[in-house]
């Protein structure tokens, strides 16, 4: 397992895909949030209308709400693309054939891939929360007080939960033997999640839970949140099982 973790970590750190996604997720989301916050301050009615109740808030509360609201769908896109690459690239590059007949079982290799991906999402979520804090200072909101810190922690947790939501993309990339099936699954998950949020079906569907928690924390309980890791564990199990039973017959 250690050898698989070392290999997957080395591949991820050398990857242009992972580096680009990290930069886009952290810098892109914070820059977009800053632009929207400034647009609200300058009285842009279109942006105010789109943001709804968040536009009425001020300072840290509005900034954290904006970053959280954007990071749930945008994060899922970035995370899904990266996991699709981590898994699907073995098929696209043809390297999967070299992962047979090794003393390190394919189940361990798949587990290592998911572990490295999960660790990366935790770090990206932390970097996003740190970048949001920095932006708050730059915008002159002062040091975050005890009322703001829980919001920043929730922002980090939304990122971590969003990363977990991308796990089904890894399973589909395995079954579909490539990157594109995983990316397509990510897009379906984002669309499905947004439809559920707009339809007001509530937080019982894990795909919508992080977005709802970001927008309206009071409507989401710990039970709803716990469904997200449970669902991702199910798909992680499916992914490692599919790798274990893999045959190169198509």
């Amino acid at each position: 397992m250690t050898a698989a973790l070392v290999a997957e970590t080395r591949k991820a750190t050398a990857s242009v895909v992972v580096r680009s996604a990290t930069a886009l997720l952290v810098v892109g989301i914070v820059a977009l949030s800053a632009a929207m916050s400034l647009a609200v301050d300058s009285g842009n009615e279109q942006v105010q209308a789109k943001l709804g109740p968040i536009a009425d808030k001020k300072g840290w509360t509005r900034l954290i709400g904006l970053v959280s609201m954007i990071s749930a769908p945008a994060g899922l896109l970035g995370f899904g693309v990266v996991l699709s690459w981590i898994i699907g690239r073995e098929f696209a590059d043809g390297t999967v054939s070299g992962l047979f007949a090794l003393p390190v079982p394919r189940r361990a290799i798949a587990t290592a891939k998911l572990a490295v991906f999960w660790a990366w999402t935790v770090m990206v979520a932390a970097a996003l929360a740190a970048a949001c804090t920095l932006l708050g200072f730059v915008l002159g909101y002062g040091a975050p007080d005890s009322a703001v810190i829980p919001g920043l922690l929730r922002l980090w947790a939304v990122g971590v939960l969003t990363g977990l939501l991308a796990i089904p993309a890894g399973w589909v990339a395995t079954v579909g033997r490539g990157l594109l099936p995983g990316v397509a699954t990510t897009i379906v998950l984002i669309t499905f999640g947004q439809i559920l949020v707009v339809a007001g079906t509530g937080p019982w569907f894990p795909v919508a839970t992080p977005t709802l928690w970001a927008v309206s924390p009071r409507d989401v309980t710990w039970v709803h949140l716990a469904l997200v890791p449970l669902a991702s564990l199910l798909f992680a199990g499916l992914t490692t099982r599919t790798w274990h039973r893999l045959q190169l017959d198509r």
Binding site: A3, A4, V6, A7, R10, K11, A14, S15, V16, D93, G94, T95, S97, G98, L99, F100, A101, L102, P103, V104, P105, Q247, L248, D249
Partner: protein, 240 residues
Amino acid sequence: MAELKCSGLTRVFPGGAGVHRIDLQVEAGQVHALVGLNGAGKTTLLRLLIGMLLPDAGTVGYGSRRLGDVRPADWARVGHMVGHPLAYPELVVRTNLALAARLHWVSPNRVGGVVAMAMAELDLVKHADQRVRILSQGNLQRVGLAVALQHEPDVIVLDEPTSALDPSGVLLLRKVLLRRAAAGAAILVSSHHLDEVARIADRITVMNRGELVGELDPTSPDIERAFFARVLADDQSRVR
């Protein structure tokens, strides 16, 4: 464990292609060549032997163990290149070899030495710090061969290992395989370069239309003629 064998091995794909009732034994200390025309089923057979495909019938054995019972410690003594080399384009040659060595259970303190020796043996030292992405097909194949051979395996399975190599690469590979065979390794190599195979193989088995159809004498003066005669005889026997 240095022995690879299969018995009654069959795998048929939709449409009827595949391999049928294959009995094969690759013995310790021998280079066993599998020759056949394109589409004869060589790659399918090699995939079955290393578990990339599961058979419809028959068994594969590594030493005294069946494929499903092979332990991780036994897999650590196997090296193969069947399909694309295990080499990631974003990593340099040295790193690729080091990661592959770890995946073959080479202990971390030995990895540096093992990689250095493999690069010297396959003349890859000048490419050590180049990304695999920019290598030529021939050098990529050398990296794949180094991945398969650097941990000094007892069982070696190579599919068309010289297809992209230049003459000097072919000579280097020949030397490495003969050295491994002399150390007791069982080596199975598929090829359709008959002259090249004849130079190092102890046994040559002919495959045609998914079946083993006989053997050739590696010392035969006109091995090409003997090969085509064997294939033609098999084709004619199927027509009758």
